[in-house]
Symmetry: D2
Subunit: 372 residues, 4 copies
């Protein structure tokens, strides 16, 4: 009898519980700092419910997103794949969106209207988001679906292009279909992270064809079962938006201002990934140890991701290994052997788990003025 | 892309994870020993899905039940309360059952066909389980619904009779409606535990009117959110059945052979609760400490519930407090001061968290022959 | 090289770590509220170091006590049992005290000067605390040792009187020696809890002979290994002192104002245990649930012990079991069915794990005025 | 009263507890596989007790080592720094060794006889292990102490050469003293890891002067407080010995067959570190995913250290990030996109947290024959 109330209240309880999690786990509520000029918005734009081949009502997706501290989600039901059609014979393909919108009304979560255009290879699966009406996008011919999406000013991205069910080598194959869509400005993004899978070949395609880099959960079941209870976070696209609004997210996606995040894996164009990492590590204090030339620097990882760094400064560390993990939310000290006392030094860390291109990890610099 | 597969596989992974939980928590997979003459079957016969006012597809309920190690569940959709009717306009009220049956096919879980007959007070909510067809039970007049359920040989129980929404004092009120149903053999059980709520006045009614004692989750959202992540187990009815079959469960329910379990709270008639507790604590070893008259006894709690005991033996404990918690699955030693070496002694423990009637906790005896 | 510094700093780090422990465990830093007229001081007056048969230097005992949040400790080295005498041939039996005093100087921990007078049965082991000089207490005849302790105005208590090594039945035997000491005002207290052992027969002796009730760790190795890592807290004597000073502790012990605490087991005279429990549970809020006669009361357990209660109010609970565990530091709600709205009600809880006499658990009452 | 027994038994209990630790933590009991031709023995040859400036009796060191699953320890008391001399005026500097030997008698732990020769810079601190008699090593002149150590056939290593108390830049400075000792075959090893500190400049010295690479805890307080409760493991030297004996360890140390280990940091000469890592990762299965050219490989990390790898194979991963952490004891799958089905492939992983020289991480290769 109390169940409904409990259910609605469980969100707040869970936020409290998760904030007390063991320090060595990454935390469930996702968190990233803004970068100069932009807000860093956490989005998951590839999600299913019972209105296509998912297994929960749209309200659960809203609650999951609130638990994960997301800013925006899109319920992208397959237009063409409807295994529950017998039971949910909805003539209006906007229902999932409408229900989520209603559920989110009293919460600080943006619902982006979206749909998944679903075909076999070489067309594959594609998400159209920021649509106005899902119904006319359901078309016999894929080309017509993409044209309609464009007409609605949708942002369209290619889902899991490296999926072995559609590409047995596990590599994405850019067919004429995609080339035409890109040429026609009907395909704008590409998933480099889909669910638990990352393909660096998809990243290569994104860079080569200037497609927006996307990361999504593609969740069908429960976020708890597929991610959280295995110690993982849901994959997201971090969108660098001028303000916290759906329109700004749309503008940012068309402009390619994103990085994809899955746990400690962060993938994006250098111009966004570098400032994100720079903002993520906060220098809290820097002091020379008494009677030494050893500079102790206190750093804080302000993100919800564990980060992996290699010290590539001009100076070696006094005590820790040059390769070290920096846990989500952790404050830690590193000590540089500067050989003489300096008024200013540069700390340079290579972010080993982050990629601006296949096999390319960015190096971030912080200029530090010791206190004494 | 991998999501569906992952989702289907998550069950096994979770069973592994949960078995490694902290020793001081009760474990998620529920477990109770059989009692002489009967199998102890774990059932939850009050569950909702999107087919009434719940929020998940029936397959999730099957997976939750497998994670909880249940033997049988029933999806008891409200016949009269259908908030998702606009989207799920099913003319056949048996759909939820059919989908669960299909999902459970490859698993060792029994699906009991059921429905909830839903009225305001004084009739209240009632579950009819082991029905053949839910459709004819949907009736204008409650009396007719109960009559149809009886025709189908359904076992019917009164849900959350103490619910303050229907009884502002929080006490169950047995109206003429219930009295008539009992007289007509149309009402056979009563929930003494519904979701997180236990009412000892409902237990009093069960005993007075010889109604079968029931405990159910009444879950609408997710078992994980409403129970597991708060450190609780889902409430169940433990059914003492002649064999592991739906027919045997039905026979046992009509015969009143149950106890209701919610975490460390276990409620049932003395004739079933006492043998259950007796079987639950296994005496593994009993030896006199060298050169003393102190008898050390090794006991194992073979259930998934923490149990609370008070030593009421003729002998006091040597070292532990007479009131002690016995964790789920734990092996622990108690030491009795028998004053002289005995060939046989009786260990008597009062089960403080278990009730055979309001405020009445049973005492269990084990006859023990020391090894030396 | 950094080790010493690290070692000294580890205390603060550990306090932070332990405060984040899992909510279902009792916490390491012990905490109990004051009672009307008295401060509740946490003491452990039975401890060993390398200066008798223990295995650590006295400074470790100071650090352990600070981690446990104690107010006072006494290093009570055996005067007569000196297994490390070959290596530590100290002519002055006050060394252990002196070192601890030095170590504690910069910390908020009181060091009580003490020694253990060690004999076989029937005299047994006895601790003399608040002594001035340990050396003259080392005597051939036990009677002389007790006389010297009295001369120094020491508070003397009988250690583990139920120890099966000295009493094979596991029951304490009050010999003429003890009777004489009591008569001569040379024996003032008795351990009812020693290390992990509780003997209710020792409690009976305490009550019969008006001896002060004591609980001690009797630690020889590491508190972490013997208690903490097994999920236990160290046993203590809670002393109700007029102020936070060694003199006040001494006065309170002579006056018998104590309770012994080991995890959830709390043992003491009714006049101290009842006000302690009353202060331990704080009523934070009481409101009637809307449109009902169900009074929801928010309670906080302000102690570091899990407490076990049975509702023995005039009203039954709306939802929870009448027997329930109240975790250390937890805030929880109970709901009373008062049948009509009251301006004032009395909540009565029996503290099942607490004892004022063998098998006697106290009942505590709180008068509550609902807000609406 | 039970305390002593409990203390002695606590070891086994703790081994059980620690084996159930959270899967994401490295485990307390250290474990590494043997390498071809040698046993991998876990040693800590720099430890203090109350017999110099430590704070525990030698038996605690034996118990700590057993909990950590070590094969050998050495209690290396400072010969010249004796802060407890007033209380422990031992004329025989072999006492600590003798007590540990007695304590270890019934356990499978080797006790290496050792001492620390303690001077200020430039001589610094040096451990002599496998000595016969500590007393004659106590000398006014350091040269004489080293000569005596050599006479006893001791293996001598330079402790924490980068310690800022002795070298304010935090860099080790090889003085004429060390050069002479090396030339005279009186100095054989160098700590590159001391307590929580790693200095790659010390590693450079080791390689340049062919000194044996050492890692030690230098523990003075408790392993639990300085390492375990902070989520760290104690630093050790892994010695590759022909058999499990003190003589074999001595032979291996003179021959330079070691790697130093502290958590995920593993430092050693390439000829030992590469086979260690190769043995550490076990290929359990390799199968092509159905209808694909994606080869799934199941790997097991058989060590107690989390390891950090980068995929540098000729093939990219199908799903995981090329940079990944491999937890202690974990079994995980990686999938290679081999583009066509191969009968044999080579998996190449660079061990990012392991060093064979400053900034040089080794790459390990495994030849794998897929099953299908």
């Amino acid at each position: 009898m109390k169940t409904k109330l409990l259910f609605l209240c469980s969100l707040m309880a869970s936020l409290i519980v998760t904030s007390q999690q063991h320090e060595h786990q990454s935390s469930r509520p996702l968190s990233f700092p803004d970068i100069p000029g932009y807000k860093s918005l956490k989005t998951d734009l590839h999600i299913h419910t019972v209105f296509s081949d998912g297994y929960v009502w749209p309200n659960i997706r809203v609650m999951e997103a609130l638990r994960d501290n997301l800013d925006a989600i899109s319920l992208t039901e397959h237009l063409e794949y409807q295994p529950h059609l017998e039971d949910i014979p909805h003539p209006d393909r906007n229902r999932s969106y409408a229900i989520a919108l209603e559920e989110a009304k009293e919460h600080d979560l943006m619902i982006v209207h979206g749909s998944e255009i679903t075909r076999s290879a070489p067309i594959g699966h594609n998400n159209a988001v920021f649509i106005k009406d899902a119904n006319p996008i359901l078309q016999d011919k894929a080309e017509k679906a993409f044209a309609e999406a464009k007409k609605q000013n949708a942002f369209v991205f290619w889902n899991h292009p490296a999926w072995h069910n559609q590409s047995p080598t596990g590599n994405p194959i850019l067919s004429d279909f995609q080339k035409d869509r890109i040429k026609n400005d009907e395909l704008h993004g590409i998933e480099v992270i889909n669910s638990v899978d990352y393909a660096q070949e998809s990243l290569a395609l994104a860079l080569e064809h200037n497609l927006t880099i996307m990361g999504t959960s593609d969740i069908h079941g429960l976020i708890d079962w597929d991610y959280t209870e295995k110690g993982n976070q849901r994959p997201i696209t971090l969108v660098f938006a001028k303000e916290r609004s759906i329109e700004s997210i749309q503008e940012a996606l068309f402009a390619g201002r994103t990085v994809a995040v899955y746990n400690e894996l962060i993938v994006g164009k250098e111009e966004f990934l570098v400032p994100l990492l720079k903002a993520s590590i906060v220098v809290e204090k820097a002091t020379y140890l008494r009677n030494t030339q050893v500079l102790e620097i206190e750093l804080k990882n302000s993100t919800s991701s564990n980060l992996l760094f290699e010290n590539v400064s001009d100076y070696t560390f006094y005590d820790s290994s040059p390769v070290f993990e920096f846990k989500a939310g952790e404050t830690k000290k590193v000590a540089l052997k500067t050989l003489e006392k300096k008024n200013e030094i540069t700390l340079k860390l290579k972010a080993l788990g982050c990629f601006t291109a296949p096999k390319v990890s960015p190096t971030i610099s912080w200029t530090i003025s010791p206190e004494n």
